[in-house]
Amino acid sequence: MKSTSNTPATDRRLRNKMSFSQTVSNSLTMAYRGLLKIRRTPEQLFDVTLQPIIFTLMFTYIFGGAISGNVQSYLPVIIPGILVQTVITTSIVTGVQLREDMDKGVFDRFKSLPIARIAPLSGALLADTIRYTIATVLTFTMGYIMGYRPDGGLGHVAIAALLVIVCAWSISWIFAFFGVIARTASSVQGISMIVLFPLTFLSNAFVPAETLPKLLQWFVKINPISHLVTAVRDLSNSGTIGWDLTISLIGAAVIVAIFAPLTVRAYMRRT
């Protein structure tokens, strides 16, 4: 056995504050942990892999004829809609997994290490962008297979993909907040679904707003998800950047501005 002798406490260089670069490096390590966990348990990617495939197929063939006359002309409407719906639903997982993680024994170890206390939270949020990317790529690929040829071109499609990922990341702060304050993982799932279901379905993701009753139309039009969907449609179908993109980004920024401090505060108090 090796006989390394320990440095006594009095001879160590100690600091009570974490530097910014250490916070970044700790967050990256925690994100790396998140990726390892995804690799070890690929079944937790079911939602981001199956949902885009099944939803794209189902919605296109069920509603395609009724809404747009035929499947081909429905694709430019439905693909951006399903993209937004899928990626944003995926962001719920952030909160659920955060709650599960915080209840596990390993969290005690993180708390006892001299690391930036925010790292487990920021790392988790960072690692989840991988999930959004997978969902985005799969949805577009699925659309392409079914015959969707976005007129905006690859560059604009890429911008649209990035926009969706950024917005999903912002929205994941809301669910991270639920994750931090809730008592069980299943309650996080429950609350999040209640919030998200009306937001995604009462939008223009699947049907044009004009076909809806007056009251619903009003809600659909102010719903930020609708703006995001429109922004994605504009980008990928015609390569234009309009107001909807600005509104989406402002909405994302507002969500982060409100929920990031709330989440961090609640998180610091809980740990």
């Binding site: 320990n6 406490a9 009095t10 160590r12 600091r15 006892s112």
Partner: protein
């Protein structure tokens, strides 16, 4: 306990690894820790001994910055656990009662991540992980996910994870609960080696034998309070004197022998139920000579004679008014249900 002298001597050089003063923690109306004072000298093994629910884990969690005390204060090498928590975390390694490693990752991945969090580069972290796995005999299982690790392997990995930064103070919450005798002995060896290398170890245990074997000093806690503190010998001495054990060859002589013992030593006696030995407190060693002569005179043949210091079991019984073993057996039931009462 009457160890004031020892306390004063050590306090002069001010070299405490742990100094806790009046720690209180309540969960609802339950005062889990109710004014605990602890002083752990640097470089020693300190045992915290107590039955189920005594408040051992809660105390350790407060000292390890995992839980904030309602009242009282604690210092680790002079640094306050609340105000200077990040410094304290650089000085401690914590092995909790329940394994604090990532179940879904492999042993190597766990150690690499913890090493990187502690500031090691990628290759240094990998080297450190390999080195620790080797040291704790886990190399073969290094790549397997922890889900199919045995309890003992998990415990060793957990301890390995606490030693990455070679901390000068190590908290071990029931390090040997659930280990087989051989693994337990290995764990004891590891703990002794850590102290030889300059670390201080604070461990909790429900096993008196373990505290006896390892600890330089012991605090006995019960219902959230320290009910006794001192070295093992001080604690034993506080209970009283040694006991005399007499084994009689022909059991029909037992009553006669007891009468002689009680008459000559002038004390009460008892008979142990397991092996039929006569047990009597022995205040005055000289009287034993008289006793032996008297027994020979009565024609009673002895099978065995021994003098034993009181066990910590008896110490515990005397101090708290209830035994530890009965609690400990319940505890091992409980510790199998992972995750009970974690904060």
């Amino acid at each position: 306990m009457s160890n004031n002298q020892g306390k004063k001597l050590l306090a002069v050089n001010g070299d405490w690894a742990v100094e806790a003063c009046g720690l209180v923690k309540s969960f609802g109306t339950n005062r889990a820790v109710d004014g605990v004072d602890l002083k752990v000298p640097t470089g020693s093994i300190y045992g915290v001994l107590g039955p189920n629910g005594a408040g051992k884990t809660t105390t350790i969690r407060m000292l390890a910055t995992l839980l904030r005390a309602d009242e009282g204060s604690a210092r680790i090498f002079g640094y306050d656990v609340v105000k200077e928590a990040q410094i304290v975390r650089q000085l401690i390694g914590v092995t909790g009662q329940y394994a604090s490693v990532d179940e879904s990752l492999s042993a190597t991945e766990n150690l690499v991540i913890f090493s990187q969090l502690l500031g090691l580069g990628r290759s240094a972290a990998k080297r450190k992980a390999a080195e620790l796995l080797e040291e704790f005999g886990l190399t073969e299982a290094a790549k397997r996910p922890l889900k199919n690790f045995s309890g003992g392997m998990r415990r060793r990995l957990d301890l390995a994870a606490s030693l990455i930064a070679q901390p000068p103070l190590i908290f071990l919450d029931e390090p040997t609960t659930g280990l087989d005798p051989r693994t337990r002995n290995q764990m004891w060896e590891t703990i002794r080696r850590l102290v030889k290398e300059g670390s201080t170890v604070l461990l909790t245990t429900q096993y008196l034998q373990e505290a006896d074997e390892l600890a330089d000093r012991i605090a006995v806690i019960d219902h959230g309070r320290v009910v006794a503190e001192g070295t093992v010998n001080e604690l034993k001495a506080s209970v009283g004197t040694s006991s005399l054990y007499l084994g009689i060859k022909n059991l029909q002589d037992l009553q006669a022998a007891r009468q002689i013992v009680e008459r000559v030593l002038n004390v009460g006696s008892s008979v142990s139920t397991e092996d039929g030995k006569i047990i009597a407190p022995m205040a005055d060693a000289d009287r034993v000579t008289d006793l032996l002569i008297a027994i020979r005179g009565a024609g009673i043949q002895l099978a065995e004679l021994s003098v034993q210091k009181p066990t910590l079991d008896e110490v515990f019984l005397t101090i708290t008014g209830h035994g530890v073993q009965e609690d400990a057996s319940k505890a091992s039931d409980k510790s199998q249900k992972e995750g009970v009462g974690r904060g």
